[in-house]
Amino acid sequence: MGLTPAHREWRTTMRDQIDRRTFIGGATGATLAGLTGCLGGGGGSEAPAHVGMVYSLGGLGDEAFNDMTHAGIQRAEEELGIAYDNTEPEGQSEFSTFQQQFASSTDPDYDLVTCIGFSQLSALQENASEYPEQDFMLIDSELDADNVASYRFREHEGSFQVGHLAGLLSTREFSHEGSYSGTEKTFSTDPEAKTVGFVGGKENPLIKKFEAGFIAGVHHADSEIEVRSAYAGSWNDPGRGQEIASSMYDAGADIVYHAAGATGSGVFSAAGERGRLAIGVDSDQSLSSDASHTIVASMVKHADTAVFNATKDVVNDEFQGGSTVMLGLEDGGVEAVIGTDYEGEIPQDVLDALESSREEIQNGEIDVPTEPEN
């Protein structure tokens, strides 16, 4: 496992971004997300391409999916010299408005409109046919149209990896000395109880893929481990997330994985209070969370790579309209990343086991399910 060079680079940009955000956030409070993002462009009319970004709900500053894609377009700005503009919809019905705004703009004429998140599918269905000359990219969903390039992820594969890690750690003595909310604390597993947990946001096919992969990974380590699953019903309810995770920890779970957006920060709080471990999602959450010592690993979904690649295609005149790209472990689209505070603390045999299961997934020896088994 370990860090790939691309990931290291991404880490640095995320760090810079977070530092800058904290500084600005302190000064202006509520409008921080808008302020940091909006002046992205600057390449002017001589830029090789103009990209319009339509983020998903939650907007910039979510320390997850949106920030990842933002990092991707920032990289494209740096390396390819493109110019871009951000828009952050505040409601479902605004997706269409912003897509149209980019598509109908003539100054600048946007070469690519990036639509982030499966919620934008319906709006894009209409707009892709209404603006046949405009190229779009869609992340996390699929639309069969000549002017749309779709990017999806094999989240189940990455989830399998973190599930495998959870299964391996849960059955052995493992502890980490760290801190939570200002006090020294030990975070440890409970080898006696063979239980781990999964907390989802809303129950839909996409999140089911996370759950399915995680369960399969856990059982790959030890088929006797019980996986408790629960859905919070919201992407933005840390209180509910904490409630669910606490009850899982109390029932003997020592590691809980979440795929629940901002609800997941409640999972980290629960882990911090109980002195247990948690696994983050979408980005390396140990970089941004206050409870970073609880985050043993994160299932990173490289939405930044998708954005960068699509932008590069547009610059090189190789736009992949009408195709769907699936990004999995093999292409570095998803990966399990050990938390910053845990680097060097994971036993070598665990890392070796993860490495071999990764190879087995890549060469097809392990077939990761996309729907939970039980």
């Binding site: 800058r20 600005i24 000064a27 202006t28 509520a30 409008t31 808008g34 302020l35 940091t36 909006c38 002046l39 992205g40 462009g41 600057g42 709900l57 503009d85 828009t87 409601g91 479902q92 019905s93 605004e94 269409s96 408005t97 149209q100 705004q101 109908s104 703009s105 499966f118 919620s119 599918l121 319906s122 209409e126 969903s141 839909n204 096919p205 996409l206």
Partner: protein, 376 residues
């Protein structure tokens, strides 16, 4: 509250406002508008200091207030996309502003237009999806579907508003509280119904199927319908006996009662009328803006309150306040887009305009109610 306990200078000022001539009131409004623009400009300039940008206009200042105002007021004229958005927003705000104005005229503070709009929109979308396949092809079918859908929106919105009306009339429940609470119930019930029963297949978000394309229409037609409705309601309020009763019940409930108006029934009726207009607005939102019901309905009902207050709760005033507010909303999109100034900041400017323009009118209304001023 007791007006006698107001400090002298404030009471004097309010009395002065009550006595102000039409010309003076216009002058006050224009001065308020200019003041708001001035303050908004300073806020924009200062906010720009905290932003990061590659080419600041001057020293540490990132945002140019003059450019902001140019876009805010002129973009609808120069940019066809912004013009479309302006027309859409204006039409919708005419409906919701009118809905709020009707209830305020009847002395009822209907804060629930949002909920009535949400359910009206849902009803319209479901009916349109349902009758779509049965309707004849072509324009006739489209008109038929749209008509039935709008009727459904009005009926459901009206019935939903009748609930707080009846609660107020027969159980003396404060309508401000009940309508606010019913807003939450409306959006959650709508969410549940759609996600459990009417979900669009294959979609990851909570939304209904698309309404038939023939039933959808552009902002021009919506605006025309809204203006006609405003005129019709104005006639209803000032040209008919029913309107006279409604307004009397609003200004002086005891007098209306003495004159033989069934006050309880009037409460329910006027709330129903207000809700029906709100529900109609929801139907128009579905048929004109989105083509289906989607979760996260914009806060049109709440903006309607602002529009109504800005118009002194006068339906004809809504004809001006609605488009003013609507164009500023659309303008804020293009500012965010073209200048990189966050639209939340434009929201602040918008709020300042409304606050300063509406405040003198609000105090004047209160002053009239409390019998202040010399000339009666």
């Amino acid at each position: 509250m007791n007006p006698d306990r107001l400090p002298g200078p404030i009471a004097g000022l309010m009395g002065r406002l009550v006595d102000a001539s039409a010309g003076e009131r216009l002058a006050v409004s224009v001065a308020a508008l200019l003041t708001a623009i001035l303050i908004g400009g300073v806020v924009t300039l200062v906010a720009g200091v905290f932003a990061t940008c590659s080419d600041p206009i001057l020293g540490p200042f990132c945002y140019n207030p003059l450019a902001v105002y140019r876009y805010l007021f002129l973009a609808p004229l120069s940019d066809p996309f912004v013009l479309q958005e302006t027309l859409k927003n204006s039409a919708l705000l005419l409906f919701t502003g009118l809905a709020v104005a009707v209830s305020f005229r009847a002395g009822l503070f209907n804060i629930g237009t949002q909920g009535q709009l949400v359910l009206g929109a849902l009803a319209a979308a479901l009916v349109a999806v349902r009758v779509g396949p049965a309707a004849p092809d072509g324009a006739v079918g489209g008109v038929l579907i749209a008509g039935v859908a709008m009727l459904a929106g009005a009926v459901v919105g009206g019935l939903y508003a009748a609930i707080p009306g009846a609660l107020k009339a027969y159980a003396d429940a404060n309508e401000v509280i009940t309508t606010i609470m019913l807003n939450f119930i409306a959006s959650d019930v709508a969410f549940f119904l759609v996600s459990a029963y009417f979900q669009k297949p294959g979609s990851g978000s909570v939304e209904t199927r698309d309404v038939p394309a023939a039933a959808t229409f552009g902002p021009g037609l919506a605006l025309a319908m809204a203006v006609l409705l405003v005129l019709a309601v104005t006639y209803l309020l000032w040209g008919t006996a029913f309107g006279y009763d409604l307004r009397t019940a609003g200004i002086q409930p005891d007098a209306a009662d003495y004159a033989g108006v069934d006050a309880k029934r009037m409460m329910v009726t006027s709330m129903t009328l207000s809700g029906a207009i709100g529900g109609l607005g929801g139907a128009v939102w579905v048929l004109m803006s989105v083509g289906r019901w989607v979760n996260g309905v914009p806060a049109l009902g709440f903006d309607g309150i602002t529009v109504s207050v800005l118009a002194s709760n006068n339906p004809l005033g809504v004809l001006f306040a609605g488009p003013l507010f609507g164009s500023m909303q659309a303008g804020s999109l293009s500012i965010d887009f073209q200048l990189g100034v966050p639209r939340q900041l434009v929201g602040v400017i918008r709020g300042l305009v409304i606050l300063l323009v509406a405040m003198p009118e609000l105090f004047r209304t209160l002053g009239v109610r409390w019998g202040m001023g010399g000339v009666r």
